[in-house]
């Protein structure tokens, strides 16, 4: 009853506003058709629900917390939520803040994330390769701020929503990415002006199924069909594998601790366990990259993923 009232209140606050420009935070979206819809059919977008709104609100609260922490740590914070506009390309945006380090001022974007995503992201490349399209969009957002503010570098501050841990990622201006984004903005503007739409992207579950314009986009969905296999032996092995998985993890953990604790120690008797050890010499060849490249060959190997049908996140289309 209490929570329901909060949820209702959140739901009332969800509104769709007209979109008159290409938002820097959205331009990294993988579907240009979506970005054109954002400009021309924003009033037909299916609004997100209160659950997602709560995540957004939490993100805003965390942003304030991080800015306070940075300030308390002695950093000068400037121009919070400063708006940018690049008329030539119809691009607008606002940066979370700017931060001074030494004599240099850097644009700053704060991103709060789940522990799982937080652990996986340590470089700009990790963002660009991430499976979630909104994470892949982060470098695009920063690149546009850097271009609009005439800066060479900026910072992402990542915040783990579970532990509160923080990490920083420096982003250097990537002109190639910037060029791509400006071309994308030009394409969108051309479609908006002509009242046309680009073709839909190939169906992507991570993009299309969550899209607020799905009902007006009507993309063709091409699924890779599942092969239902009746093989008792394989099924038995999979069940056994699952039951052993927990022990395998524990074994690896304990083995790692023992390896660390027993390094350099020979001839030990602990309870019924007799432990020996010795240093082994190995030979390594430090080959310069250009020479190494001459012997490069390509091979392929099969990557398999085993997931339970109930584990939706791991089931690909």
């Amino acid at each position: 009853m209490i929570v329901e009232r909060v949820i209702d209140n959140k739901a009332r606050g969800i509104k769709q506003w007209p979109v008159r420009s290409n938002r820097a935070s959205s331009l990294g979206h993988p579907c240009t058709r979506y970005l054109v819809f954002e400009r021309t059919k924003w009033n037909e977008k299916v609004l997100h629900g209160p659950s997602l709104q709560m995540i957004f609100d939490l993100g805003n609260d965390i942003e304030d917390r991080v800015l306070r922490d940075l300030h308390d740590a002695g950093f000068e914070i400037f121009e919070q939520q400063r708006s940018f506009e690049w008329k030539e390309y119809d691009i607008t945006g606002h940066i979370d803040a700017k931060l001074q380090i030494g004599q240099t001022i850097y644009p700053l974007e704060i991103k709060s994330m789940s522990p799982f995503v937080f652990e996986k992201i340590n470089t700009v490349q990790d963002m660009l390769n991430h499976k979630y399209h909104y994470v892949r969009s982060y470098p695009s957002q920063m690149t546009l701020y850097l271009l609009m503010d005439n800066k060479e570098a900026g910072f992402f501050i990542l915040k783990n929503k579970s532990t509160g841990a923080m990490k920083e990622i420096e982003v250097n201006l990537d002109y190639e990415l910037g060029e791509k984004l400006l071309k994308k903005a030009e394409t969108i503007n051309r479609h908006v002006e002509a009242g046309t739409l680009p073709d839909p992207i190939e169906w992507d579950d991570n993009v299309c199924s969550e899209c607020g314009y799905l009902h007006i986009c009507n993309p063709v969905r091409t699924g890779t069909e599942v092969d239902i296999v009746d093989d008792e032996e394989l099924l038995e092995l999979l069940i056994k594998r699952e039951s052993l998985q927990v022990y395998a993890k524990e074994f690896e953990e304990i083995d790692g601790i023992l390896k660390e604790k027993l390094e350099g120690r020979d001839k030990l008797l602990i309870g019924d366990y007799y432990i020996t050890g010795s240093w082994r010499k190995t030979t390594r060849y430090e080959v310069p990259k250009d020479i190494k490249d001459q012997y490069k060959t390509e091979a392929q190997y099969w990557v398999r993923k085993i997931a339970k049908v109930t584990d939706q996140k791991r089931i690909a289309a």
Partner: protein, 256 residues
């Protein structure tokens, strides 16, 4: 006239050979087994959030349809929707789609009408009684999106041969009607409850301006009903707000 009637020659229909019967029986058995297996997978891949109760029958929600489509690798293509105006300002959207799996393609239709109680919006009469708002207050996007979702659900369940599931079957998988009905209805419900729509907001503002209220006076009035902005006017105060907007008394020195 002859008493002899023309009688059409009877063509002998050959009896189905035993071995053919066995093939048919075998195929039927395999089909039953396949449907059983599909149902079992559908139950395991979905949970109570993915089903809602519609007139006593389980109805697959968009989230569930998406999970099933992903698991089986179902493909589809969908035609542009057909909009139809109905009596009393109501309307409907109809989508037609083609769903494919295992080399078989079926056609399915999904439709929703603004007449559906699901989309109705309510305000309050001056006497405090609940009053249904006209169809113009129903969000077209909600109806269109629901028709799309209806199509996907219909297409997937038809393609997999699981159209007529019962709550009893779902109960075995731990999905009960009681749990399912607590599902979050998403933006449609959210918009039905609470504050007035943009159209209502515009109407309120237009009435107030026509009556000659200034922006400051409108703001002052809004404060008396506990809100800062017209977008936050609660649905149950909308009629009162419109009445207030209409009934401005001429101020001393003002023209008629």
């Amino acid at each position: 006239m002859s008493d002899i009637m023309d009688v059409a020659p009877i063509t002998d229909v050959p009896a189905i050979a035993d071995d053919q019967l066995l093939v048919i029986a075998d195929q039927a058995e395999k089909r039953i087994e396949a449907v059983k297996k599909i149902k079992s997978l559908v139950f395991r891949v979905t949970n109570f959030h993915d089903w809602i109760d519609q007139q006593g029958k389980p109805y697959l929600w968009a989230s569930g349809a998406e999970k099933i489509a992903r698991l089986f690798g179902i493909s589809w293509r969908i035609d542009e929707p057909v909009f139809e105006s109905l009596e009393g300002g109501h309307y409907s959207y109809t989508y037609k789609g083609y769903f494919t799996l295992g080399g078989v393609t079926i056609e399915a239709v999904g439709a929703r009408s603004s007449k559906d109680g699901f989309f109705k919006k309510y305000g309050k009469e001056t006497n405090g009684e609940r009053k249904e708002l006209p169809p113009s207050e129903i969000d077209k996007t909600d109806v269109k999106k629901a028709a799309y979702t209806n199509l996907i659900g219909n297409g997937i369940t038809r393609l997999l041969g699981i159209r007529n599931l019962t709550w009893e079957e779902l109960k075995e998988a731990g999905i009960t009607k009681e749990k399912a009905t607590t599902v979050d209805y998403g933006s449609s419900k959210e918009q039905r409850t609470g504050c007035i729509s943009d159209a209502q907001r515009k109407r309120f503002y237009a009435i107030a301006k026509k009556a000659g209220w200034s922006d400051d006076e409108i703001k002052d009035y809004l404060k008396t009903i506990g809100v800062e902005s017209s977008k936050d006017i609660p649905t149950d105060k909308y009629e009162d707000a419109c009445k207030w907007a209409e009934t401005r008394q001429r101020q001393p020195g003002e023209d008629d």
